[in-house]
């Protein structure tokens, strides 16, 4: 198993902004525990799905992997290089190894830059090739992502394209530098339903062609099931279950995973649904519950769950869960 990226004990706490009076009267600081002791690794050629709801910390984890934000503690190793040791010019150059596909294509493209130029910037910022070589490569990648002929698209502005086309531009921009690792943050959430599979297929084809490794961040379990090889389920800043897609989605161990799976709407009126829907909502990540973070909502919780925090343990071969009472089917 070739580890491309390894995250160890990652933590990211964001300080909570307090009002003026609060700052005067209390000295206590509070933090949003966005990512709280997360460890995982991504194998070369794998598609790891980081699945969770809002507040789970999946987006923050993705950005930590790309060093777009600095961890409060913990480390990320990429191909043996400790990202914490990269700064300034060295970091800038390193960026071509890992790229990000954004959720909101419109917001991730400057409205005043033509899409062709936006892609070309990636090459020019990294100093790859001459100006004309850069233009050639940009044209080629535009066509490769399905925006053919490039002349119809190069000089357009983002608002002149459809949602699906914009998403392709974002993909093209991420891949033009030939990275090894791509983090896709909800890449199809803002694309029309009938076109999503097309974008996913494109991403899978490009993976083969460019020999990529993906970290796919999403709240859409059905899509994660369709595309990913391995899955890590996150809840309130922690990984609660991880394993192969088959293991996690067909033989889930953690009650939260069970809850997620039973909550997904199924487009089949005849499907018999066994719903185990937990009560309540996700608590605030500023003051997460003591012990197991899911215990207040867990139908199987016992007293130990509110006292001690379960760690991720290998319950079955290569299938890990952080639960004192994993549900064996």
């Amino acid at each position: 198993m070739d580890n491309l990226l390894t995250a160890t004990n990652l933590r990211k706490y964001f300080p909570v902004e307090k009002g003026f009076l609060d700052r005067l009267l209390t000295s206590q600081k509070s933090f949003v525990h966005a990512v709280d002791d997360v460890s995982f690794s991504v194998n070369r050629g794998d598609i790891l799905g980081l699945v969770g709801e809002s507040g789970s910390g999946k987006s923050t984890t993705g950005r930590l992997c790309l060093k777009l934000i600095e961890p409060t503690s913990g480390s990320i190793m990429f191909e043996g290089v400790d990202l914490a040791k990269l700064h300034g010019e060295e970091l800038r150059r390193f960026r071509k190894n890992m790229q990000l596909i954004f959720q909101d294509a419109m917001a991730s493209l400057s409205p005043r830059i033509k899409v062709g130029d936006a892609i070309k910037h990636a090459l020019s910022f990294q100093g790859v090739g001459t100006a004309s070589e850069q233009t050639e490569r940009t044209r080629a990648i535009l066509e490769r992502v399905g925006l053919k002929p490039w002349s119809n698209f190069y000089d357009r502005y983002p608002h002149q394209l459809s949602g699906g086309q914009r998403q392709r531009v974002v993909i093209a921009r991420a891949l033009v530098l030939d990275p090894k690792f791509v983090v896709a943050d909800e890449p199809i959430a803002m694309v029309d339903v009938s076109v999503r599979a097309q974008i996913l297929e494109l991403m899978l084809e490009l993976k083969k062609e460019f020999d990529l490794t993906y970290l796919f961040i999403t709240h859409d379990l059905a899509m994660a099931n369709y595309v990913c090889h391995s899955i890590a389920i996150m809840y309130l800043g922690k990984i609660v279950e991880t394993g192969s897609k088959e293991d996690v989605f067909s033989r889930p161990l953690h009650p939260y995973t069970l809850a997620l799976l039973s909550s997904i709407p199924v487009p089949d009126p005849k499907a018999k649904l066994e719903r185990i829907i937990p009560k309540g909502e996700i608590p605030s990540p500023i003051n997460p519950p003591m012990g197991c973070r899911f215990h207040p909502r867990c139908p199987y919780a016992e007293s130990i769950c509110s006292e001690r925090e379960p760690q991720l343990e290998e319950i079955k071969p290569h299938h890990y869960a952080a639960c004192f009472f994993p549900r064996h089917s």
Partner: protein, 296 residues
């Protein structure tokens, strides 16, 4: 191997000009810009060709009877020195235009870089700059302008400088709020992802998106500069008496008003208002166009 640096500013102008053709189709905002620009253009041209179209020398005294009301010979009447008001109206805008243009240039050259760098760099730089700018902003504009003009003395440049000082904080604030917003947007994050240097991010990703609001402020600045320079002249700071200037006519016109000579204050006053209106319409129209996202 060096790469040619493209100027985003050049591109923006190219972007702005073709869209002039579409302005009429952009609804009320488009019309506001066109009408405003037309007013300003007409007045600018009038000022420039004044020497050729003025029937009399605007500063020559006693070309006509003193304080005669509008007539065939003197369509806008004459003032207490026997000067022809029409000629004075034609050329009275020259100083105002110069002062306005100069003050806007100074504001752009000083205010924009400070605004950009302070808000992009954040931290201590931002706090200090904001403090200074807020302090200046706290003063009532005209009062501050008068104080500075009084210190600096008369002259076009000094008037422009005093107006510029008063206005720089407005530029700073607008740019700062824009930069702070844009800094958090995904496309700036994308620039970092591609390995852009800070300078590149600032000039090629942030600045082009801030420019529309700068343009809007600048046009309002023009309007304000026109009114302030009239005000400065009105209180006696600013210009030597001999130069034809609407501001001077307003000063004397006010004193002559009780005696019934309304035309001395009315026509220059109208010109000042029209010019300010023209700039304001352009500015408001531009803000309206640029700020809500263009709905197709």
């Amino acid at each position: 191997m060096s790469m040619k640096k493209e100027k985003p500013q050049g591109r923006i102008l190219v972007q702005l000009f073709p869209s002039l053709a579409n302005l009429a189709s952009r609804g009320l905002a488009g019309w506001a810009i066109l009408i405003g620009a037309a007013i300003v253009a007409v007045m600018a041209v009038m000022t420039v060709v004044a020497p050729w179209i003025s029937p009399y020398n605007p500063i020559a005294i006693n070309v006509g009877p003193i304080l005669s009301p509008p007539s065939a010979e003197f369509p806008l009447g004459t003032n207490h020195l026997g000067q022809d008001m029409l000629s004075r109206v034609y050329s009275g805008g020259a100083i105002m235009f110069q002062v306005a243009v100069l003050s806007v240039i100074v504001c752009l050259v000083v205010g924009v870089p400070i605004g950009l760098f302070a808000s992009y760099l954040g931290g201590y730089t931002d706090k200090v700059a904001s403090l200074v700018m807020d302090s200046i902003y706290a003063f009532p504009g005209l009062v501050l302008a008068i104080a500075i003009a009084a210190m600096l003395g008369p002259g076009v440049v000094n008037m422009a400088l005093s107006i510029a000082v008063v206005y720089v904080p407005s530029y700073f604030r607008i740019i700062r709020s824009q930069v702070l917003t844009i800094k958090e947007l995904p496309y700036v994050e994308a620039a970092s992802m591609m390995g852009a240097k800070s300078r590149t991010t600032l000039f090629r990703y942030i600045l082009p998106n801030v420019i529309p609001s700068i343009v809007a402020v600048a046009t309002i600045n023009f309007a304000d500069a026109v009114l302030t320079s009239a005000g400065l002249t009105f209180v006696g700071l600013g210009l030597p008496v001999s130069t034809p200037d609407w501001g001077w006519d307003l000063t004397y016109g006010r004193r002559l008003l009780p005696s019934g000579a309304w035309w001395v204050i009315a026509f220059p006053g109208l010109m000042v208002v029209l010019l300010a209106l023209g700039f304001t319409m352009m500015g408001e129209g531009l803000s309206e166009l640029f700020n809500p996202r263009l709905q197709k």
